[in-house]
């Protein structure tokens, strides 16, 4: 069964690298969005199983996007990718309703495995 992962990041290069990293797992299907607003539209159209999202984005940042997604009833796991993955940062994001945090830089060969952990538990 294929798993749909929506990757949200304003950095084009990172979107591409993350997409290719996740697609090393043949069962994972990836779409990438450059902004929170685009991601919200994509969710309605595509219904992903998990959302992997950057924290610091212009216009609408990660936590704000998460708040809006949850307000719209999005119940699938939402996982942040962040350069600031200290314990307190993780706690703050979890308190906002995030399901998990992946630290930047991530290992491209392990990203799919990391993400699957949240899917299996969810």
């Amino acid at each position: 069964m294929s798993l749909r992962v929506l990757y949200v990041d304003d950095e084009e290069d990172l979107r591409e690298v993350a997409q290719m990293s996740l697609e090393l797992d043949p069962e994972i299907e990836v779409r990438a969005c450059a902004s929170g607003a685009a991601a919200i539209e994509e969710i309605d159209a595509w219904h992903p199983d998990l959302i992997l999202m950057d924290v610091m984005m212009p216009d609408m940042d990660g936590p704000e996007t998460l708040r809006r997604m949850r307000a719209r009833g999005v119940a699938v796991p939402i996982v942040f990718v962040t350069a600031r993955a200290a314990h307190t940062d993780v706690q703050q994001l979890t308190a906002l309703g995030a399901d998990g945090v992946v630290a930047k830089p991530f290992n491209p060969l392990q990203l799919a495995t990391q993400v699957r952990r949240y899917l299996d538990s969810g």
Binding site: L14, V17, R84, T88, K104, P105, P108, L109
Partner: protein
């Protein structure tokens, strides 16, 4: 000296007073009084203002001769008469007065100070209210004069100090009267010159500050009452005051004897701004550097794993070089952030029980490929039984990995790096021993400081950040441990790390060594 004999044998007939047999009884009486007194004094008598003085008076001027006795004061005083005459005439006009703190310096001696008390002497024989003479009694007030001078000097020194320090200073007494304050204090709190005066009630100043909202939201009177209560109940206190105008003050209070207290204020707005900017910079560096590094490491990882197609041997080698160096950059960014966090105390330690022997093995395995590239042997000497400690696993691995990679970095080829773990009493000791060139004595003191790196690194790819040992030291000390260089080692370098064992463990683990 004008003693009794000298006085009696004086040639009075050569003076305007004439021979003493012709003197009035009152003049005889006055002279007897002078001769008997130990108090320095003189008398000016008659129309000629004839000068009569006693030996105590001679002493204060340091003169022994009695030549001036009976002579007109105008002659004796010479040039000083113009100053003296109005005073003398004042007394002859029936006025008494005291001249205070008059300095007299006798040849080379420091000046002494005298009060001169002038009194008119009336004619009691005829009963007429006529002034016959002027009596001047002097008192040595040098001690008083010096005390007053010292007091005013120390007051001046205090004022000079208080006015010229950068900190605001205010001294308040037990009745809350403002005893001392300086200009910086006025400026820090933004009082107008009319609002702050010495002696005023400090409560009025506090109310003014509270009324402006500088002491937080709420009823100014209530805020000030709470403040006064804390002043009365605690010996010292530090307040951070966020003024409405955006300035940030640090106010320190120290209670002193007698219910007084001292306030010292500092404007820390600039420091706060700098600290905030630094935090922002660190955060920016963290994000801005890690984002491209993530893309680089990610892309290299995918290519290096062959996931983007088979690589030629040459391409594979080049990719490996790029990967190693991107890892190095990531480590550098991590080190910089760690140092910043350790320095500001923001690092988090998640302590859990761990087997130190296992951590040593893990860090050796981690460094094994690196050591083998340099043709080195990496060997562990650990006890059979587990060595239980309470540590942040991740941070302790960071310390061990750092120490081992340092040892490898500074070791000549074909030598051995030994990591020994021992239990000594309630402490575990890790020793990382290499057979390298050792650390030059002049560098030893700086070894655990930030950005200290000795340039004898073999020029492979592995130059470090110069932060590693400073980070290790911080981490070890957070675990109540110690890290130090063994200075007794004559060959190579030995670094020891001591850590407390996890409390309440059975004897078995301790006996394992």
């Amino acid at each position: 000296m004008v003693d009794r004999a000298g006085f009696d044998s004086h040639a009075w007939e050569t003076t305007p007073l004439g021979h003493s047999s012709g003197w009035s009884r009152q003049l005889h009486f006055m002279c007897d009084f002078l001769m008997c007194s130990k108090q320095p004094m003189f008398l000016l008598w008659g129309q000629e203002r004839s000068f009569i003085y006693n030996s105590a008076y001679q002493d204060i001027w340091g003169i022994a001769s009695q030549d001036a006795l009976g002579r007109p004061m105008e002659e004796v005083a010479g040039a000083n008469w113009s100053v003296l005459e109005p005073q003398v005439e004042h007394v002859f006009a029936g006025k008494s007065f005291i001249q205070t703190d008059f300095p007299i310096a006798v040849s080379g001696q420091p000046p002494r100070y005298f009060d001169f008390s002038y009194t008119p002497v009336y004619d009691y024989e005829t009963g007429k209210r006529e002034v016959l003479g002027a009596l001047c009694i002097s008192t040595d007030v040098t001690a008083r004069h010096m005390a007053v001078e010292e007091l005013s000097e120390s007051r001046e020194a205090l004022a000079l100090t208080v006015d010229n320090v950068a900190e605001g200073v205010a001294l308040v007494d037990s009745s809350l009267a403002l005893l001392v304050w300086n200009e910086p204090f006025r400026r820090h709190f933004g009082y107008s010159r009319a609002q702050i005066t010495t002696g005023m009630n400090a409560m009025d100043l506090m109310v003014e500050t509270a009324r402006r909202g500088d002491l937080g939201e709420g009823d100014p009177q209530a805020i000030v009452e709470a403040l006064v209560h804390s002043i009365r109940s605690t010996p010292h206190q530090t307040l951070e005051i966020q003024r409405k105008n955006g300035r940030v003050l640090n106010l320190f209070r120290q209670s002193l004897s007698g219910g007084r207290f001292l306030l010292v204020s500092q404007d820390i707005t600039d420091e706060r701004t700098a600290a905030r900017l630094k935090d922002e910079l660190v955060s920016t560096v963290s994000h801005e550097l890690r984002t491209p590094l993530t893309a680089i490491a990610g892309a290299l990882g995918i290519v290096g794993a062959g996931a983007a197609g088979e690589l030629s041997e040459k391409a594979d080698r080049l990719i490996k070089i790029a990967q190693r160096n991107s890892e190095r950059l990531i480590l550098l960014v991590n080190d910089l952030l760690d140092v910043d966090k350790l320095q500001s105390g923001r690092i988090e330690f998640r302590l859990e029980e761990a087997d130190l022997a296992e951590l040593v093995q893990a860090s050796i395995e981690h460094n094994l490929p690196y050591a083998q590239r340099g043709g080195l042997t990496l060997r562990a000497e650990v006890p059979q039984a587990p060595v239980p400690v309470c540590v942040d696993r991740h941070r302790m691995l960071q310390v061990l990995t750092n120490l081992i990679s340092n040892a490898v970095k500074f070791s000549p080829e074909e030598t051995e790096v030994l990591v020994r773990l021992e239990v000594e009493g309630r402490r575990a000791r890790i020793s990382v021993i290499d057979r390298g060139l050792g650390i030059p004595p002049e560098f030893r003191d700086r070894l655990f400081q930030r950005f200290s790196q000795h340039d004898s690194t073999r020029n492979r790819v592995q130059q470090g950040t110069g932060l590693g040992l400073a980070i290790c030291k911080s981490i070890v000390e957070h675990h109540h441990g110690a890290i130090w260089l063994d200075t007794k080692t004559t060959q190579g370098t030995t670094i020891h790390v001591d850590l407390p064992l996890k409390p309440e463990v059975g004897g078995a683990s301790g006996d394992g060594t």
